[in-house]
């Protein structure tokens, strides 16, 4: 079943909630301000999300990799896996990790 736009918003809200708990609200919200195509409430809930999800995800990854590659990898993996499955059902999780640098480029 394909993931809907609202489900992505929910998944990202959950990720940002984790970021706030891990890094703190100040740095998380400050970093999210630099991400174009997304509007986030002070509690990390995604209020608005651009249709161009790939660009938004790329920007999120770029911003938060500065803070912790490990955290970004572990939190974003489910979303990226899901996104990749939708475009190519045969691609495995391992390939997703390998393709991440291309996404960031």
């Amino acid at each position: 079943m394909l993931t809907t736009y609202d489900q992505y918003k929910g998944q990202l809200s959950s990720v940002f909630g984790k970021y706030i708990r891990i890094f703190g609200k100040d740095i998380t919200l400050a970093k999210l301000k630099h991400v174009e195509g997304i509007t986030v409430a002070p509690d990390g809930t995604v209020v608005d999300l651009s249709k161009n999800l790939n660009d938004v995800l790329e920007s999120i990854i770029n911003e938060f990799t500065d803070l912790s590659e490990y955290v970004v990898r572990t939190t974003m993996k489910p979303i990226l896996t899901d996104l990749l499955k939708q475009s190519s059902p045969s691609i495995s999780n391992q390939q997703i990790v390998e393709q991440k640098p291309e996404l960031r480029a």
Binding site: I22, F23, D26, D66, E69
Partner: protein, 591 residues
């Protein structure tokens, strides 16, 4: 309006605009300069921090130290109220806070809760470990009710494992800039990467060390100052008869008899910083030398200037198995005792007979006198044979044994020796037969020494073949006519398989158990010398035997140049006929 006034106003206006423009430009320049200064300051901070990592941490994987360097130098970067760390240990969490601005317990508690939330989110599990708390810097003001208004937390991740957190907090709202926070994240991540690389290097080096220790023939293990077993190799496990994959110090200490107090000696070595050697301890059926050596930190001088002597990491224990040496030493001692006994026996007989002759001069008839002289002659000959054997063995040991070759026929030697023993064999009702292939050519060999070999082997067979037995000598060449193969076969009592391997060794007679009821005199060097003579000719000697089925000893002598042993021909043929008979001792058989 007057022209001068207009001109004056215009000039003022132009100057004013120019001043404003200049001020704007100056302001821009100042801002740029400030940004550059800030960048420069951050860069310098980063470099100095990295240098401090290098100086203070070196090759240590101490997360506490890394976090300590970061939090301790933070005031050079930006102002803050507190800098806290939470480090994960196997049994607890260590929570430390450096107080830069006066805060109260409420503030500290908020930080702790925030860090615990962060850690639980990172690990995806509840944390139930005990928390050790420490404060540094300014004192807490118990009455201070300030709360944490802004903060950020940096996870310290080493090789994909979260090892700790750093949280910087302030009493003021939105106090930290994104640039400041990002810089600290970058520095911390850079330190974590260094730690990860260092951990990998250390893991590789540890792997190499473990491989090296594992390949040692001696048993080695190492304990740290807390008496934890850091490493143990297979040789040590074998000596201590430990079957576990990952034994503990208790397994090791309980494998060593408590009277040696190895644990106490390890402690002494570490406390007194001195090596301890135990010359010999018995562990089960093994004898072991134990070397306990304190292990020091080789870089202690660069780490601290306070201590007079290097700090001890632990102690290494080397177990050198001396069972073989000890057995060999006993074997040599027994050999000497046996030699003395063997040499004393004929001397005693000679002394007794000669005393009898001299003290009873004129009282002894000719017949008795002749018998006594025969005893003296026989015992003197026995003594001479034994002394010659010892000398031959000594030459073989020293690699100085030489043969004097001349052209001759093996048929002649075999015939001579067969004839020599016929009378003795008939006395025991033993038949000696010889089968010699026609056409064996003349070749170079030492007739005296080869005769000694045949002599020795027939003599042995006679000793251990019962009445009615048969001893067969045969000689033939191999298919290529490059070797003469000589066999001496008897149908005596044979030799058990487990005793055959040591039969040609120097000390074989000592270690073996002599069969009940058979006490053969002799030095036990016979087969050792046989082997030496045959090998000096470039030949080989081998044995085929089974209890109660007889024995065949085969030796080869090269017809061509000595030392060349063709692959197939070098293996002497299997013994042919083995007839059942009684069987004497293995080791004492060849003397």
């Amino acid at each position: 309006m007057d022209l001068p006034i207009v001109a004056s106003l215009s000039t003022t206006l132009v100057l004013g605009i120019a001043t404003i423009l200049f001020s704007i430009r100056e302001e821009r320049s100042r801002k740029l300069l400030k940004i550059r200064e800030e960048n420069q300051k951050h860069r310098l901070y980063q470099i100095s921090l990295m240098k401090e990592f290098q100086d203070r941490i070196g090759y240590s994987l101490d997360t506490d130290k890394v976090i300590g360097v970061i939090t301790g130098s933070l005031r050079n970067l930006f102002p803050y109220s507190t800098a806290s760390s939470m480090v994960i240990h196997s049994d607890r969490l260590e929570f430390k806070t450096y107080v830069e601005e006066q805060v109260g317990p409420l503030f500290i508690d908020e930080i702790k809760r925030s860090m615990l939330t962060s850690l639980q989110t990172l690990l995806g599990t509840d944390i139930t470990s005990t928390i050790d708390e420490r404060l540094a810097g300014g004192l807490l003001d118990e009455m201070n009710k300030d709360t944490m208004k802004s903060h950020f937390t940096i996870p310290l991740v080493v090789n994909n494992s979260v090892v700790g957190l750093i949280t910087v907090a302030s009493k003021k709202e939105s106090f930290f800039t994104v640039e400041e926070m990002t810089l600290l994240y970058q520095i911390t991540n850079s330190a974590a990467k260094t730690l990860s690389r260092l951990e990998n290097v250390l893991a590789t080096e540890e792997g190499k060390l473990l491989s090296m220790v594992g390949s040692l023939a001696d048993g080695v293990f190492m304990v740290d100052t807390n008496r934890h077993l850091s490493v143990i190799n297979n040789a040590a496990k074998l000596i201590l008869k430990i079957n576990k994959d990952k034994p503990g110090i208790v397994d090791v200490l309980s494998a060593i008899p408590s009277i040696y107090d190895l644990g106490g000696k390890i402690d002494s070595a570490m406390n007194e910083k001195k090596s301890i050697i135990e010359k010999e301890i018995q562990i089960g059926d093994r004898f072991v030398q134990v070397f306990i050596t304190p292990v020091f930190n080789p870089n202690w001088k660069t780490l601290t200037q306070i201590q007079d002597s290097p700090p001890v990491y632990g102690a290494s224990v080397l177990l050198h198995d001396i069972t073989l040496e000890k057995n060999l030493s006993k074997l040599k001692e027994d050999f000497t005792n046996m030699m003395v006994h063997e040499l004393r026996s004929p001397l005693t007989a000679i002394k007794g007979a000669s005393e009898l002759l001299s003290s009873n001069k004129g009282l002894i008839d000719e017949n008795q006198s002749h018998k006594l002289l025969s005893v003296i002659e026989e015992q003197a000959k026995r003594l001479l044979d034994q002394v010659n054997s010892i000398l031959d063995a000594a030459k073989l040991d020293a690699g100085k044994f030489a043969v004097d070759k001349s052209k001759g026929t093996i048929q002649k030697i075999i015939k001579e020796k067969t004839d020599l023993f016929q009378a003795q064999a008939q006395g025991k009702h033993i038949t000696i037969e010889s089968h010699i292939q026609e056409g064996i050519p003349e070749f170079l060999f030492d007739p005296l020494r080869v005769g000694q070999v045949v002599n020795n082997l027939i003599s042995n067979s006679l000793k251990f073949t019962p009445q009615g037995g048969i001893i067969t000598l045969s000689a033939n060449t191999d298919a290529m006519k490059r070797f003469v193969i000589i066999r001496i076969t008897d149908n005596g009592i044979g030799i058990a398989a487990e005793k055959q391997s040591t039969l040609f060794s120097k000390f074989s007679q000592i270690s073996a158990n002599k069969p009940k009821g058979l006490t053969q005199a002799g030095t036990g060097l016979g087969l050792y010398i046989v082997k030496g003579i045959v090998e000096a000719h470039g030949g080989t000697v081998s044995l085929q035997s089974a209890p109660q089925q007889g024995t065949t000893i085969t030796f080869t002598l090269p017809i061509d140049s000595p030392g060349i042993q063709p692959q197939e021909q070098s293996q002497p043929p299997q013994p042919v006929a083995v007839q059942p008979a009684l069987q004497p001792a293995v080791v004492s058989k060849f003397n």
